[in-house]
């Protein structure tokens, strides 16, 4: 998808060993625990994981939007060659909205209920681009046309409650795009929307990304959402990236049992109706006291004693773009051995059930 060679150009965003901890009464929550990745201009990255995997904190930590109290942040975030770690809120403000912007999860609550749409879009335009009221209004109208809102001129004078959820999410996208950012974060942009609207919104975000040559970080719990919309997918679990690969590679040859479990939990059309949805047993790890070994081991069907005591490092596969953190990845002899055992056991169980 991306024609520029990622190895020769400097990346737009380079995150190395980013840690984001929160101090709470229970102890330190290691929400993001050593995440590294880089993103080229125009490239899109999907971050996938369950709730509590740290994906939202990761995106907000990169953007620097987290509150400062009881926060511990470490590592390096290079954006356009500039180190963001350690910048003050004041310095970040010139980047927010202008260089980086974010589409939030819930369009119902993320727009100011008592401010007209037009003003909400015009605000960053006037602040960052120094437009006057009428220029900002014209640009806002154009932005609403770009995100395909009908009758844009009338919408400018409406309040959020007069618009549907899908429309509001389009307004949010318009606000995020307003100043022409180079990096767009979309944090679960379709979770609060109807399924029919979801595809439209994703398509819109992707079109705009291509048109404006933006980079996109799409955060979602739904691996199906990132499938058609991203170049690279990073799977997060317990505050860490556990597998990262170009989208096609990930879908064809995933290595992490966790990724496999995520793939399995996508409902499939060819399944008969009322088929029980595949779920991942157990709960995400407690990030105050994460497990000693692999974070996923306690829930992993393929875990062996080593997994519980030793933490796997990210390993590169034959494809240098594809990394994973697992001792016994999908396709390894140990994996097959266990898979066989499991299928025999489930055969026993199902015959037992019939008697």
């Amino acid at each position: 998808m991306n024609d520029s060679d990622p190895r020769t150009t400097t990346p737009l965003l380079e995150v190395s060993d980013l840690k984001t901890y929160f101090r709470t009464e229970r102890g330190t929550v290691k929400a993001v625990d050593g995440v590294s990745f880089s993103l080229q201009r125009g490239q899109s990255l999907g971050i996938v994981g369950e709730s509590g995997s740290g994906k939202t904190v990761l995106s907000r930590s990169i953007m620097g939007l987290l509150g400062r109290t009881n926060l511990f942040r470490e590592g390096s975030i290079k954006f356009n060659g500039q180190e963001l770690m350690g910048l003050s809120v004041k310095e970040m403000r010139s980047i927010w909205g202008q260089e980086m912007s974010m589409i939030f999860q819930d369009p119902m609550t993320s727009l100011n209920p008592v401010m007209k749409i037009g003003r909400q879009i015009a605000e960053p335009l006037m602040l960052h681009l120094g437009m006057n009221k009428s220029e900002a209004r014209l640009t806002a109208e154009k932005l609403l046309t770009d995100v395909r809102i009908p009758e844009p001129q009338r919408r400018l004078n409406q309040y959020p409650h007069e618009l549907s959820g899908g429309m509001r999410q389009r307004v949010m996208i318009a606000i995020a795009l307003a100043c022409g950012p180079t990096l767009l974060f979309a944090d679960e942009p379709t979770t609060a929307l109807d399924v029919t609207v979801q595809a439209e919104i994703l398509q819109l975000i992707n079109e705009q990304r291509v048109d404006r040559n933006m980079s996109l970080i799409l955060v979602t719990h739904n691996i199906g959402v990132v499938a058609g919309n991203t170049d690279v997918i990073a799977v997060m679990y317990g505050g860490k990236i556990v597998e990262k690969a170009p989208t096609k590679t990930l879908f064809s040859s995933y290595k992490m049992p966790y990724t496999e479990a995520l793939m399995r939990s996508i409902p499939k059309l060819r399944q008969a109706s009322h088929t029980r949805l595949a779920t991942i047993p157990g709960r995400p790890p407690d990030m105050v006291n994460p497990p000693l070994g692999c974070n996923f081991a306690p829930r992993c069907a393929y875990a062996r004693p080593k997994c519980l005591v030793e933490e796997p490092e990210l390993t590169v596969t034959e494809n240098p773009e594809h990394v994973y953190a697992c001792f016994y990845p999908v396709g390894s002899p140990e994996y097959h051995e266990r898979k066989l055992e499991l299928s025999q056991r489930s055969d026993l169980l199902s015959t037992g059930g019939q008697n």
């Binding site: 403000r93 909205g97 939030f104 100011n112 008592v114 401010m115």
Partner: protein, 309 residues
């Protein structure tokens, strides 16, 4: 609704005054009991006719009501009818209204930035010190605050005049009222600040505030442009409801600062059991209350477009 409320307030006050006391006594004093003396008996008859006391209560109420709506509030008992109650009210009400408007404006002007600053720093030391200050203001009785302010700013520093003179020019009189307004405003501002601060803290945790921050807006812009307006509901409700309380507070403050307003009239007339005056003032307070709360309802719809129909 509002009219029903005013009617019941008037009926209740009117009834209470005539049943719990005997207007005849209030007019004639001890003479009213001296029915055996033909001289005083004649006087009693004369007064009864003059003040319509010979008619049954409902008839008197209807007559009083009819007069009241046309602006005739009856005559004072205690001064042999001069000036009429409406004259007394007309003379005194502008002072109290000026005092209360000034006090409310001050309270609102103090409390909004105060709440904004403390909400932005919630839990920090400056916020805790401010909480202590507001509790101090709330705990202080208003006559004590009045005396304290008068002592410091009038007597010691001489910034404000000690007394109110009705013949002085308007702006001079505003200066004379100022300290009294501050006395009423400070505790009120403390209440408003506590309320607005709490609501602001809640609003500041909303998604659209994060969204506003992500636009790159400065902290004060986020608070004043985005957070204040949706946090104003309980604030304006209480500002409206508190107006009644402020009128009550003005009784003490007008007395301490010697401002001849409605509050001090109310005290005087209650002590003299001058019912027409008490009745008129109670009605005006109720009327003010109703009007202000209608205004508050209108304000709701201005502040929140979702309330509009």
């Amino acid at each position: 609704m509002a009219i029903l409320l005013l009617l019941s307030v008037s009926a209740l006050t009117f009834g209470a005054m005539n049943v719990l006391g005997d207007p005849l006594f209030n007019i004639l004093g001890p003479l009213a009991g001296d029915v055996n003396n033909p001289k005083s008996a004649a006087l009693i008859e004369e007064v009864k006719v003059k003040y319509d006391l010979d008619k049954p209560l409902p008839v008197r109420y209807v007559k009083w009501l009819g007069d009241f709506v046309t602006g005739d509030m009856g005559v004072q008992f205690s001064t042999d009818g001069q000036p009429p109650v409406s004259g007394l009210i007309k003379e005194r009400i502008p002072r109290t209204i000026t005092l209360l408007i000034m006090a409310q404006l001050l309270a609102v002007m103090i409390s909004i930035p105060w709440a904004a600053i403390t909400a932005a720093r919630a839990g920090k030391r400056s916020d805790k010190i401010s909480t202590m200050n507001s509790f101090f203001l709330l705990a202080m009785p208003n006559f004590a605050l009045a005396i304290l302010l008068k002592y410091i700013f009038s007597l010691k520093l001489g910034w404000f005049p000690l007394t109110y003179k009705a013949i002085d020019p308007y702006f001079e009189r505003l200066r004379q009222i100022f300290l009294a307004a501050v006395t009423i405003a400070l505790p009120a501002a403390a209440v408003y600040q506590r309320l607005l601060r709490t609501d602001l803290i809640t609003t500041l945790q909303q998604d659209f505030i994060l969204m506003a921050r992500a636009k790159g807006l400065s902290r004060s812009r986020v608070i004043f442009r985005h957070a204040i307006r949706p946090s104003m509901f309980s604030f304006i409700t209480v500002v409206g409801l508190n107006t009644g309380g402020l009128i009550g507070g003005s009784i003490v403050v007008e007395t301490v600062f010697r401002i001849p307003g409605i509050g001090s009239s109310l005290v005087e007339s209650v002590l003299r059991e001058d019912f027409p005056v008490v009745l008129a003032i109670v009605m005006l307070i109720a009327l003010a209350f109703v009007i202000i709360n209608v205004l508050v309802d209108i304000l709701y719809s201005i502040i929140d477009p979702r309330v509009r129909r």
